[in-house]
Chain length 492, copies 2
Amino acid sequence: MATVKAQVDESLRRPPKGTRDFYPEEMAARRYIEDVWRRVSIRHGFQEIDGPTFEALDLYKVKSGDEIVSQLFSFIDRGGRDLALRPEFTPTLARMVAARAAGLPRPIKWFSIPRCYRAEQPQKGRLREFMQWNVDFIGEASERSGGDKPAGAGTPARRDWSPAERAELECLAVCVDALREFGLDEKDFRIGWNHRQLLTDVLVGVFVPRERLASAFYLLDRLRKYNQAGREELYRQQGCAARERDYFEFIAQVGDHSFSAWLEQLLNKMGREGAAWRSEAGVTPESIRERGVKLEQHLSQSGLPDPCWFDCSIVRGLAYYTGWVFEITDRQGESRAIAGGGRYDQLIEMFGGPSLPAVGFGMGDVVLEILLRDRARLPRRLLPSPDVFIVNALEDSAPADRLVLELRRSQWDEARAQMVRPGLGVQQSYRGTRNIGKLLQEAAASGAKLAVILAPNEWSRNLVRLKNLADRSEKEVFLADLPAAIHAALAT
Amino acid sequence: MATVKAQVDESLRRPPKGTRDFYPEEMAARRYIEDVWRRVSIRHGFQEIDGPTFEALDLYKVKSGDEIVSQLFSFIDRGGRDLALRPEFTPTLARMVAARAAGLPRPIKWFSIPRCYRAEQPQKGRLREFMQWNVDFIGEASERSGGDKPAGAGTPARRDWSPAERAELECLAVCVDALREFGLDEKDFRIGWNHRQLLTDVLVGVFVPRERLASAFYLLDRLRKYNQAGREELYRQQGCAARERDYFEFIAQVGDHSFSAWLEQLLNKMGREGAAWRSEAGVTPESIRERGVKLEQHLSQSGLPDPCWFDCSIVRGLAYYTGWVFEITDRQGESRAIAGGGRYDQLIEMFGGPSLPAVGFGMGDVVLEILLRDRARLPRRLLPSPDVFIVNALEDSAPADRLVLELRRSQWDEARAQMVRPGLGVQQSYRGTRNIGKLLQEAAASGAKLAVILAPNEWSRNLVRLKNLADRSEKEVFLADLPAAIHAALAT
């Protein structure tokens, strides 16, 4: 067969723009991150799911409207169907819940670690292809639907925390627990929260006409990211009246607070102006304060290691979220958002399912990995080490090769139909040398715990030497006893 | 906020054609399969890699030509670049090796578990989206390049097995070991092998003019899948002369054999006809037999549990493979191909890298999972069980909720910057009931090993009951001692 050397264009030598190659070191970091996400999700009682990498293009318009299309990688299949690579997992989740809502045990506690795609300009922390951890708690009993008895139990609801609050807390706790498992703590990240309904009630009561709420959310989202000049430009764009502008400037200067302290500042300002609370549907400053304090108490009594800060600038988009929202940000440096989520009680219904309360969050791998590398929190050795390194000082390769395969192989018991001995991680040298010293150096560099030395003298008597590479102790072992001896040595 | 109920078309309620939703049960099966692939790869000393989900469309033409385009999901990014979802991993692998060939330690032993996409008609065992395990052994020392010393060692090559044979054996062994770990054995699968060069030499020597070799490979690939009438049609299409047709019919009838027995049959037939061996470049029946026997001895001495069958119908495409090839098929029923691969010494060069010998294989999840379900080899319980189930018989939910979060959380030692206690898998009931008997039933159904019972009497004395759900033994434990008591109980 003739050698056909293709001319590969320079542009074919790199991964496509905004995507990554994962060589073993990078892949080990990705696996580490995914393993922590998975392990923590599972111990918090969430079950893993996944869906297709692409969905019907129209599915992404249900939640996000037509504008989303410009941010999608879209294509057409053989049947002429419009499809798109998933930019996020939520539409798939909603579709899957809607499709089987009647048959799924409640509450639905699911997580997923999908690969997602955005056709946007790559920048630090934002790539076109990334992994995203999604955790969702769907269909807890709501107060509306009759208290804490989704499975039809006949006892009254527990009297302290509501099912909705408990679901929110579970989501926040799994998120924080994962960050702590990555070695991050309250010095590294900040939990900020907001509440769409509470915020709406305050804004309407104090200074925002109801028809200008969308504009107000838009401004709150941006206020703290702009300097004075930028903000003035925003006010002009949004057509703010002088009083609105005045309040937004006040809010932009107010630092981190509890909700009740923040509310107090706004009410004080209103008092100084002699302005009146605009009451709607019986909402009073007192009723809002009470709800806010209850929420804060719940968060502070939850055993979370970190105080949760009320942050009115956490808006997280206009549609979609219906109540409590949160965002976890890097506390140092650039205040990057590490994770975010909240309550979205109307989503499942939007996708054709029943009305189900829901709360959830997402965390991407790109910002997280930058953060872990910046803070040197990735474990030093991520690549797996073998259990045993075979040092072959014999003439031939065949005996060592056979021993390597024998030790790697797990032992299956036919009669009991189960594994009776797990296979061992085994490596040997691919260099030609038979120099035991050099080979032992290679064994140590591999991170192996044990070395098995095949040397002519012992080999002729069916013996090998088993060496502990940590304490450098050594003993002779009959070949037939080797698997058991290795398992025993590894267990200590 | 007003409820916006979107009208979701019926077509948006299902995953796109040829793709799958993975609800918890299906996802657990996929994870099980991927975990076995990963675990076995690692213990055989392979390192995991991955690349982008899509590549430049042109990258897929390098190996497969323009015809591949009709089988791809292709699209255009914002910069007008033609991209395609990966139909297989090999082009990405070759690109990644070529890009860093100079800096990578040899041999390169990599595996990957990419999700791949084919725009073809879905059928049983073939979907548009699937997982594929890839294992590749690249850049072992070749005999050409001077024996067994890739790292420049000065000792002579080992005298028995060649570096190429050892690499091939390692690939075959990891493949077989994974199948055995899935609980499959020689009754379930068959290893068939062929050798592109050996086969070429035999065909040319016995009855195929060199210029008709491509046609001969095409026929061999199909012979055993067609009945007599279908084969006659094939011969006509391929323009076979009478003598060629005669030999192909003979080959189609010959059963499974060792290579040397197969060669003997062809030579005998030739002898009966009084025909002469067509000698090319010094190749004689004896030299071929010697090479084939050496190969078979190597396979049979490898310690693999199953005899490897020579199978002349294993062709695996026309370009690409350059030497030894293999295919593992379902031995019962439909003879589905479970895995396949072989030697492809020119691939890295085709992608602009140096000349590097390489051998590898792929195994998909779709056929494998069908097989494991058919044979009832998937473990009965795939969903993870919690370690502990909290039975809350108190009025309030808060104490139990706090205990659940406390037990789930791993304990991080700030000073030593390491985990000192791993978090536990903990669940509790979301039903309203405080009936201990009912809650213990739910605990048992969850698969939990232990239950912690919070009952008013003990709780007032800071005590809980720790119950072993297997032997139903129970003891009182102080709340402060609970984490340690649980860890102790789980360790036994």
